[in-house]
Symmetry: C2
Subunit: 380 residues, 2 copies
């Protein structure tokens, strides 16, 4: 059967994920429309059309969905009510708003996981009468907001019950502070035809200060049995969600070698950026294949990779400028991505660098050099 | 030293090469302006700005060059006079119009190569008194137009001196019909800092009917000594030209194992498309690094690849439609590029497919399947 391949893809959000998704969509010559409040946002110059509007602006969301065959998103903080209405009217939004609703509320997400027998860290909802509920929970523990957390926001460590911050955080829960050996992640795609494929298990490391994932190591340096367990859990998560698209499943490897699911991102994920250079099919292309019902691509890792986030340096704000960029481009295997945000701010994700090398240890060494060499400052 | 990385790149031509170059430029967040006569040309939706105008429209070329820090091109048939004027006015055009002038006239190109001791097939200019000159040249031979040839146009086989087509071809020369074992190609980049890097030697095969390169095999299946000879000659070509940018050097491997230079393309080349997926740095990124004076990237081949051109099928004209596309996307390692030309025509380059596989023979088998399976037809 002949296929016109002329999909019109709508993306809610025109940041770096929307940009990279659009770049892959244009490889297939799909039409791409985005909704983003910022004119000149990273995706703006690589798409066919930008609707300038906020993610809670129902009219603009309607406009985007109506001019697209399939709408998807690069962020999860969107008004799902209007998305549900649009689905009821017959529009295609993938992953579905129902999936988004579960993901948006971390307690709902955890309840769904546990209901499906997927292990997570022990947790308990914090209600008005929380003091009784949690006295025997065990401290220190994590307090996490049910909604709105992102890149380390909405999370804090609680030393004792009296420290519980009830006011500013809103609805929240308490989570066991699990002794973590490593943080792992698996990207999983599931298509409209229910085909499922996993990418290799990777390791994530975090910047302690900003609590942002700043480093991904592919493949993860863990035993096969742990990899298999992580892959199995990741697939179960996405099947339990019934999600269509690409999903980043973040996991903890505890010090007693248990794998626990931390949370799921219903979109391309920072820990999957390495797939652009290191895998046969990138996470962005895979997402597009999944939502358009095309066959999923091979997720084979063809070369080891380390991804380093390029965060805005502390003490700088304004038009970005890159210190050491020529030095890092001289290193064989360095792939630089500059997102094109107009302004740098401390810890803002301004780009990323994927270092590929047939020898993972050499890639790690190069990543260390890269991290020490490049710095995003501001002009003047 | 900090680098703002905010280059404005102008590209003359917005076809598939301009599109892929722009895609890589946006990875670095460069601004991209293109000049192309066709609104909605392949590059149009992935660039910041298109100037609609022809390649011989001096005013439009001026407009492009003036709004760009560095101007480059994806085609070689451009009016060099205006480019020379613009360079004299202080604008940067790379490769330089002087290089372009040599390339545009195949006889000038051959003369330059021979002057630098670079072997080519034996050739002789056809002048008004050509009958005397060429009677002892040896037939059959190739007649080639000095200017304007592209994708098999401006070339014909001449059985005997009387068949020489003098009228329609314009200025032309006669070239020995060398017994060819293989056609080889090497992409070479040379930067403004005079840094030089070669990509691996590849094999090209041609569609006999349309005389268009329809298949690239990377790496070439030839002995090391031949590879080394091809690499050496390719570097000498680009050094002799004094070119800055990326160059495709097409060569013949004769049946007695001699390597002869056929011609040079002063731009990204069809035989280098495989670098997008199979090499650490793509030919398009390398070109941008070369013209902006950034360090050149590694040209290492990380996985064997076969590139197949996706040509419009005979008998179809109109809005393109892809037969067998889902079948090929199911094959692991298939990377599909659809250029986004609005209309298909017989033998028009509508896209390409790069098949990567750790085993080159398996990649070749898959390429054969791909070629048999996919067909660009027209709608309705």
């Amino acid at each position: 059967m002949a296929h016109s391949m002329d999909f019109k893809i709508g993306i809610i959000g025109g940041g770096q994920l929307g940009k990279m998704m659009a770049q892959e969509a244009k490889k297939f010559n799909f039409t791409v429309n985005i909704l983003d409040p910022t004119p000149g946002c990273p995706a703006s110059s690589v798409v066919d059309h930008q609707i300038v509007g906020g993610f809670y602006d129902d009219d603009k969301i309607r406009e985007l969905v109506k001019c697209s065959d399939i709408t998807t998103f690069e962020i999860e903080h969107i008004n799902t009510q209007v998305l549900n209405e649009l689905v009821a009217e017959g529009h295609t939004i993938l992953p579905s708003p129902k999936v988004l609703e579960i993901i948006q509320d971390k307690s709902k997400q955890k309840r769904m996981l546990n209901k499906n027998g997927i292990p997570t860290a022990r947790w308990v909802m914090l209600n008005d009468d929380f003091v009784e509920t949690i006295n025997d929970f065990g401290f220190p523990a994590m307090q996490k907001a049910c909604k709105g957390g992102y890149d380390g926001r909405g999370v804090c460590v609680v030393e004792k019950p009296e420290d519980l911050e009830n006011s500013s955080m809103g609805e929240s829960f308490l989570e066991e502070l699990v002794p973590i050996e490593k943080e792992l992640a698996v990207m999983v795609s599931r298509s409209t035809k229910k085909e499922i494929k996993c990418y290799p298990v990777v390791e994530m490391t975090f910047d302690q200060k900003a609590n942002i994932c700043d480093n991904t190591v592919a493949p993860a340096r863990v035993e096969e049995s742990i990899k298999n367990r992580a892959l199995e859990l990741a697939v179960r998560c996405v099947e339990a969600l019934g999600g269509v698209g690409i999903f980043g499943v973040e996991m903890f490897l505890t010090s007693d070698k248990e794998v626990l699911v931390n949370e799921i991102a219903p979109r391309p994920h920072n820990s999957g950026h390495y797939t652009i250079e290191a895998c046969i099919t990138s996470q962005f292309e895979q997402h597009l294949r999944a939502i358009t019902g095309l066959p999923l691509g091979s997720t084979e890792l063809i070369i080891p990779a380390v991804m380093v986030n390029l965060l805005g340096a502390e003490g700088y704000q304004g038009k970005p400028c890159f210190e050491g960029v020529e030095d890092i481009l001289r290193i064989p295997g360095v792939n630089l991505h500059i997102y094109g945000k107009k302004e740098t701010r401390p810890y803002r994700k301004m780009g990323h660098i994927t270092i590929v090398d047939k020898d993972l240890n050499r890639a790690l060494e190069k990543a260390e050099t890269v991290r020490k060499t490049i710095k995003v400052i501001s002009e003047g």
